[in-house]
């Protein structure tokens, strides 16, 4: 195995060939199967090392250790001249634009971190938040801009949702993406109104949703049995007015600082009071902001008004459950997570995550027939790599996730890669969010991606990426196991299925492992692994 600088940093790369800690060790505080399941939900997939750590620590102590970790960041994405023609003049190296004016370096590091860095729960939570409070690379193409935005989630994954809300709102990336940057007070002479984009989506998508909710996530109903909208158009306009007056911080060396500053992504937005609307503003729940407040006072009051709305707990809580554990949580599960969100201090992400990951329904589903979720493409790939002890610099994974419908940090719209209530294709009474990007075309692409990942040769390092090591799953240990097909199948069941593969699947894997003659053990291992990876039982995590 080729060790690069990147890989040498990482314990997981070095753990090498040991399959896992012995589950019968008396020190284990948790069964191996339970550990592998939890690491499917709370990390980018179990590695032998992370399974051993979790088993020895137990669930609570492992969560505590994860809450203390902060390893992942994006490096090498400094401020650049936003003008690519000046930043990469003629004669620049061919990768100048890719590395400075596209999300490539940020997306590659996302995958390198996901595969290699130990702050797994922090990263996984940050990805989940990035798919709720969406900024897309369709518009935000500068790597430093996206890195700064995603750092909000890495920073506050275990902090407080109110801080997430403030930082997102004042983020220049969000300001650019949903047009709060340079959102001016009304101009009656020109007939121009404040921009409603951020005001609408912060309510609809980032915090409370369209309908008033009960703590269990179900819709509240009025006396006629009708659901009750969370807000109306006047409320959207109220927030649009409250959010006027903000612009980008001045660029380094700027000679002017005024409303209408050009885009700058390395500092929060700043306010100019003469561009802030000073009228009163209608907010949620009948609250009216008094006129005459500063831009900052209006913004904080508006965000408090949103944050204290009773919908936030069930709205955000249910989506985090869907991202991490199951697409169709029971109302009681959602309500328990809401209670954690609503407990003091309100919005504590540690309490919310602990409630999600240690809930009785996550541990022992009451309704196994509707429990679990199709893995989103990003996690499909990272889970396979980590579970099979693979190594990756992130370059190939980035491209494959995009081909499968999930270019990380770059969904088509603010509605994410897929909506949380996407109907399960053959049973629309249930949700299947990741099915929003799963279809015939994507399934065929997935078959090609998995075949490449499991071909035993791997993907060579991209020479244009400094420090690249490529992506490899070493099949030599599987080749050795293939001498005894039953053992091979047992190990596949253990590592990819947490020991829970159905009898039918195990029987099929056993046949697959014996298609090639015994003197071709690599072919035997590849066939069984590929069949396993393409099986519905592996595509879905439950």
């Amino acid at each position: 195995m080729k060790h690069s600088r990147l890989c040498l940093l990482v314990a997981a790369c070095l753990s090498g060939t040991a399959l896992a800690a012995d589950p019968t060790q008396p020190a284990a505080k948790m069964a191996e199967s339970d550990a592998r399941r939890l690491l499917g939900q709370a990390s980018f997939g179990p590695t032998d090392a992370s399974v051993a750590e979790l088993m020895s620590l137990g669930r609570e102590a492992w969560l505590a250790s994860q809450f203390a970790r902060s390893d992942s960041d994006f490096s090498g994405v400094p401020y650049v001249n936003p003008n690519a023609a000046e930043g990469c003049p003629a004669g620049s190296r061919p990768t100048c634009r890719r590395d400075n004016y596209t999300l490539f370096p940020v997306q590659v590091q996302f995958f390198a971190n996901a595969i290699n860095q130990p702050d797994q729960l922090r990263q996984r939570t940050a990805l989940a938040l990035s798919e709720i409070l969406v900024v897309s690379g369709n518009v935000i193409k500068l790597p430093n801009a996206m890195a700064n935005y995603q750092r909000i989630f890495l920073r506050h994954s275990f902090g407080n949702f109110r801080d997430v809300l403030r930082e997102v709102t004042l983020s220049p990336a969000m300001g650019r993406y949903l047009n709060m940057a340079n959102n001016d007070k009304p101009n009656p002479a020109k007939g121009i109104q404040p921009n409603e984009n951020y005001a609408r989506e912060v309510l609809q998508l980032f915090t409370i949703g369209l309908w008033q909710l009960n703590p269990d996530g179900s819709q509240k109903l009025d006396g006629q049995g009708q659901p009750i909208p969370s807000y109306d158009q006047d409320t959207v306009e109220g927030f649009a007015h409250a959010f006027t007056g903000w612009t980008y911080a001045p660029r380094p060396g700027a000679t002017r600082n005024r409303f209408g500053n050009p885009s700058y992504y390395d500092a929060p937005m700043i306010a100019f009071e003469d561009h802030h609307d000073t009228g009163s503003k209608k907010l949620l729940n009948g609250v009216v902001l008094p006129g005459g407040q500063s831009a900052r006072a209006d913004l904080e009051a508006a965000l408090d008004n949103i944050f204290n709305h009773p919908n936030v707990g069930p709205f955000i809580g249910r989506q985090l459950i869907q991202q991490l554990v199951t697409a169709n949580p029971s109302p009681a599960y959602v309500e328990r997570v809401t209670q954690a969100f609503n407990a003091k201090p309100r919005g504590d992400m540690k309490a919310v995550l602990r409630a999600i990951l240690t809930d009785t329904e996550a541990l022992n589903p009451a309704q196994p027939s509707r429990f679990g979720k199709l893995r989103e493409p990003i996690v499909q790939l990272t889970h396979l790599l980590r579970a099979l002890g693979g190594s990756s610099d992130g370059v190939w994974l980035r491209a494959q996730a995009a081909a499968l419908g999930q270019p990380v940090y770059s969904p088509a719209t603010v509605f994410n890669f897929f909506p949380p209530d996407y109907d399960l294709p053959d049973n629309p009474s249930l949700d299947g969010p990741a099915f929003g990007v799963f279809n015939a075309s994507a399934a065929f692409k997935l078959s090609g991606v998995l075949a490449t990942a499991l071909n035993g040769k791997g993907v060579a390092a991209d020479p244009s990426v400094p420090g690249a090591i490529g992506t490899h799953i070493d099949l030599s240990r599987w080749q050795a196991l293939a001498a005894t097909p039953a053992t091979l199948v047992a190990q596949i069941n253990r590592l990819l299925f947490a020991g829970r593969a159905s009898a039918a699947l195990q029987a099929a894997l056993l046949k697959a492992a014996q298609i090639a003659p015994a003197n071709k053990p690599l072919e035997r291992a590849k066939a069984a692994l590929f069949l396993a990876a393409m099986s519905p039982e592996y595509l879905v995590e439950n």
């Binding site: 409603e196 509605f415 629309p428 249930l430 065929f444 159905s502």
Partner: protein, 444 residues
């Protein structure tokens, strides 16, 4: 929410053991028809797509839209592509469509949007008005267009789209009636029928099982794995997507890997929408080998949510859309199926006539749309709204048009041409009975 399974079992109970009601017999003059839905995601600003050309109409438009360069959105009248005899002009980047108009085969439908029933401004302003739910919300309004059902309040929302409900009317073939070239959508989901998403690139087949899967024992094992019952709902759904994909792939792969005799018409058109429409043309050309006589296609473009910098952004988008639609129209002529293929646009909603800070516009309601094809009788359909902020057609103060034609009327007219009989129309479009006019006569 009603489940598709529930509805199916209900339908089966009503029909006894017999098959679902079938499509009307193929209409005289042709045995093949296709509808192509071009969805403009984000909410296309119809106010800058179709503009009044008469002096007072244009003056009202310019007054409300404000000065370009000073945060306003007005397009110069001299830049517009006039639709002679229609009293309106098109955005300059849509000039290729003026050719189709001049050939007599472009219909412009004015001010169409989701409605449960006809609605006046007074009714809209009254308490308890039956208004489509979640106006101005992207996904809700996309769904209402694609579902052909606009619900107020807590009425059960349908999980199906109107394309899918048409496909439900006839037995499913190996190749589904509804094919998307741009991913998943509600439009093509039926109760039983499922649409299929293909890509624009070559190769529509499962990989990793060797060159000839039918003789590959690993592939046989995989097929048997997919046939397992899967008590878990998510696993069951994953298996069903894979099974449908594999069963349709042989026929579709051949069509998709062919060059297509009309590729030359798309030379130089590298946009996503042009490549999607070229793929549709290839699939139409392969209709005989696919064994289909009725096809529904779904293609799309994103980026129409122009809250800022709209003049530049919409110009770029239309510069892709206009030539692509024209090339596809020409392709249907070259393939000899112009009379059998009708293309129409759809979008979340229109945008406010009044500009928003940043040189854009916000979410609105009633919008203008295109219907084009050899069978279409060109002209302006419906009534253009009075472009006055807070005026009689504005349900707000910012220029959000109360639709004077419903999406269901527009869609039912297309479905009727496609061959859906009068009785089935009311099943496919449950609110059509609320409207006196059921057919907008795009086809004479």
């Amino acid at each position: 929410m009603l489940t598709r399974r529930h509805l199916l079992s209900h339908a089966a109970a009503l029909a006894g053991a017999s098959a679902l009601p079938s499509l009307a017999a193929p209409l005289a003059g042709g045995d093949y028809r296709a509808l192509v839905c071009v969805f403009l995601y984000g909410g296309n600003d119809g106010n800058n797509m179709v503009i009044p050309m008469d002096a007072s109409g244009y003056a009202a438009y310019a007054r409300a839209r404000g000065t370009a360069g000073a945060g306003g959105l007005t397009l110069p009248q001299s830049s517009l592509a006039p639709l002679n005899g229609g009293g309106v002009g098109l955005h300059p980047a849509l000039t290729p469509l003026a050719d189709v108009w001049n050939q007599g085969h472009l219909a412009v439908q004015a001010n169409v949007g989701p409605l449960v029933k006809p609605l006046t401004k007074a009714e809209f302003n009254a308490a308890n008005a039956l208004v489509p739910s979640n106006l101005f919300s992207h996904d809700d309004q996309q769904n209402q267009w694609q579902r052909g059902q606009s619900f107020g309040g807590n009425a059960a929302t349908s999980p199906t789209g109107w394309g899918g409900r048409i496909a439900d009317l006839q037995p499913a073939g190996v190749v589904p009636m509804a094919l998307s070239v741009s991913g998943n959508n509600v439009f093509m989901n039926g109760m039983a029928a499922q649409g299929l998403a293909v890509g624009t690139g070559n190769g529509f087949a499962i990989r990793g099982f060797g060159g000839n899967p039918s003789t590959n024992p690993l592939y046989a094992l995989y097929q048997s794995l997919l046939q397992q019952p899967y008590a878990n709902a998510e696993e069951h759904a994953a298996a069903s997507v894979l099974k449908q994909a594999i069963s349709a792939s042989n026929a579709l792969n051949a069509a998709l890997t062919s060059g297509g005799s009309v590729a030359g018409l798309f030379n130089g058109l590298n946009s996503g929408i042009a490549q999607q429409l070229l793929t549709v043309a290839k699939l139409i050309e392969a209709r005989a080998s696919l064994g289909v006589t009725r096809q529904l296609f779904f293609v799309s473009m994103g980026g129409f949510d122009t809250h800022n910098d709209q003049l530049n952004q919409q110009n770029q988008l239309f510069s892709e859309l206009g030539p692509a639609l024209k090339a596809f129209y020409d392709a249907t002529q070259q393939l000899g199926v112009a009379q059998a293929v009708t293309t129409f646009t759809a979008s979340d909603f229109a945008r406010t006539l009044q500009p928003a800070s940043g040189g854009g516009s916000d979410h609105a309601w009633g919008n203008h749309h295109f219907v084009l094809g050899g069978a279409v009788k060109g002209g302006l359909y419906g009534r253009m709204p009075q472009l006055v902020l807070g005026g009689p057609d504005d349900m707000s103060e910012e220029g959000r048009w109360l639709p004077t034609t419903s999406v269901d009327q527009m869609s039912a007219t297309l479905a009727s041409w496609f061959g859906v009989g009068a009785a089935d129309l009311n099943t496919v479009f449950p609110h059509l009975s609320n409207f006196a006019v059921k057919n907008l006569r795009y086809f004479g």
